[in-house]
Symmetry: C2
Subunit: 339 residues, 2 copies
């Protein structure tokens, strides 16, 4: 057994026997994939017909485990979802782990198991990996980077450039669950609550939407939340994004925590939701397609795109009180390390 | 200007305006690639005919800059080289940066410029990226993960399974330059020396070798150095790897530093060398092909593969003094964070 004292040592990252055993006992055991040949420098893959898409994401969430997920499931779903909202079917993942000396081996095993489980659910294969160990005090327990490769069917065209005035904006479920769950899991807030991260593969949601004629654009509202996605839309299109606050789904528990801590739920990250733009005519069909799914039960049409002013697109929230306010772009950091 | 006090802040990682500006001003500026669309979640790529290969590596070297390279060039060449030694032509890279709050913006810019330069030399395009900022005291200035996608020509067959008794072992140049240069760059050793990292793309070397009939296997001797590669060979094949110490190229300056610090240069990392196995008949042709290249001038045939004992393959060094010693597999950590 190489885990003396049940903790990771610097020698687990040095390219020798300890590292070989760590990879075999922890990563290969949980990611068991015939394509994950841990003795080769690069892995061959088969790319089916269509347009290949590639994406990468680093994950530094604290704490490493939280209600509804952990850094492992987050690292799989975060990258799977970036492919899915691009219209691509996720096929392959690579995994790089930067482990801090002293990490509990049992925690590492739970994270590896979570990676394996999330990959299986999302239908992706982990085909290459790398492990580094950094000295105590130079990391955050473990940081992960996943890179995903997927394939988009020929003829499918989604993107910021397709968005038009009159299009509808949909969200697939309640906003801010992930950000709130991670926040509550931090000891320094000394709050408890009944909120679980929404961390999940959004593939069922995106697959349902790409079959709808009139689908224009999808994005997962992670860092910066709905506010970041709508600002991207407004800036890229020059259109105003008009949101109806009364239609924005936010759980009561999330709203309460936000009120106590002074956060706005529209800036909080989701890790299993989709924001979509579809043509006005397609809005009801898209909503029905989502509401038929387990993960889309609380989907809603939350706004629309309107011609922008002379100074370009804005994001405007029609408040429940009957007024209007501008949803400003995020400047300072409301909630670090939620992904 | 978002770099107040010329240092990276947590807000540079939050998904809002600061992050968008950091990515535009630093990364996009230096990696200028039409395929690096910083507004999309996943990037489309074109994969030519052949077998696609994928590989990933994390980089945590300290110090971040050292004679002959920095973490940026290392992150590009490390991944490029993993593809190249697999016989694949490197095409695309993704880049994930985990930046520690307080990193000097000027240092980040030098690293980004170095990434751009190394990618250009190696002929790869950076098509996707991600940036996270972790709080001060939870990182190492910057950690990088690169993932590479390359294409191997149909019909080319290289691998540990192709190695046979009687095959020759070649190295493309002096061993241990990178490990020694990084070690000397550390203040804590208080040594100075005239050693530069060999950090470079090995593509010219691998391209020259795959045209030689009888090429069996290539590997870049990074973590664990020549010792790690030869142990992998011995374990996979059951053959003995017999090395002739008098033929192993090691610079005098590297040997001196190793003697002072008690290291063995055969365990030290290279980041621009190739270890190759070729059939006995092909050895001279392979050597000539390498010696014709700038980066292969000091290439040498350094050993051969012999039938292993009943307990499997060993790595045996015929010493310059006329004796024999076993080159043991690395167990404890001789030199952390050289990559």
């Amino acid at each position: 057994m190489t885990f003396e004292d049940r903790h990771i040592r610097l020698a687990h990252g040095n390219g020798g026997r300890y590292m070989r055993e760590l990879i075999a006992q922890v990563f290969r055991a949980h990611l068991a994939d015939p394509a994950l040949d841990v003795t080769c420098d690069a892995a061959p893959i088969v790319i089916p017909d269509g347009t290949p898409f590639v994406t990468t994401d680093g994950f530094t969430v604290q704490p490493l485990e939280f209600p509804g997920g952990d850094i492992g499931s987050l690292a799989v779903n975060g990258t799977v979802n970036d492919l899915a909202v691009s219209g691509a079917r996720p096929l392959y993942l690579t995994l790089s782990a930067i482990i801090e000396e002293g990490l509990e081996a049992a925690l590492l095993e739970r994270i590896a198991a979570s990676i394996g489980k999330a990959a299986k659910i999302a239908g992706v294969r982990v085909v290459a990996g790398d492990t580094k160990v950094v000295p105590r005090g130079h990391g955050g327990g473990i940081y992960l980077t996943t890179t995903g490769i997927g394939i988009r069917p020929h003829g499918l065209d989604l993107g910021l450039d397709r968005v038009k005035a009159g299009d509808a904006l949909l969200v697939s479920g309640p906003l801010g669950d992930h950000g709130t769950a991670v926040m509550l899991a931090r000891e320094d807030f000394d709050l408890t609550g009944d909120v679980r991260s929404d961390c999940a593969s959004v593939r069922p949601l995106t697959e349902a939407l790409i079959d709808i004629p009139g689908a224009r654009f999808m994005r997962d509202p992670t860092r910066g939340g709905l506010a970041a996605v709508t600002h991207e839309l407004a800036q890229a299109s020059g259109l105003d994004v008009r949101l109806d606050e009364s239609r924005l789904p936010v759980r009561d528990a999330v709203r309460s925590v936000c009120e106590i801590l002074g956060y706005d739920p529209y800036y909080l990250a989701c890790e299993g939701r989709v924001v979509a733009v579809v043509s006005g005519e397609a809005a009801e069909a898209a909503l029905a397609a989502w509401q038929a799914l387990d993960d889309g039960r609380d989907a809603a049409i939350v706004g629309w795109l309107a011609p922008g002013g002379t100074r370009g697109g804005r994001v405007i929230l029609a408040t429940s009180a009957g007024g209007e306010r501008s949803l400003e772009e995020l400047e300072d950091d409301p909630l670090p390390r939620i992904c």
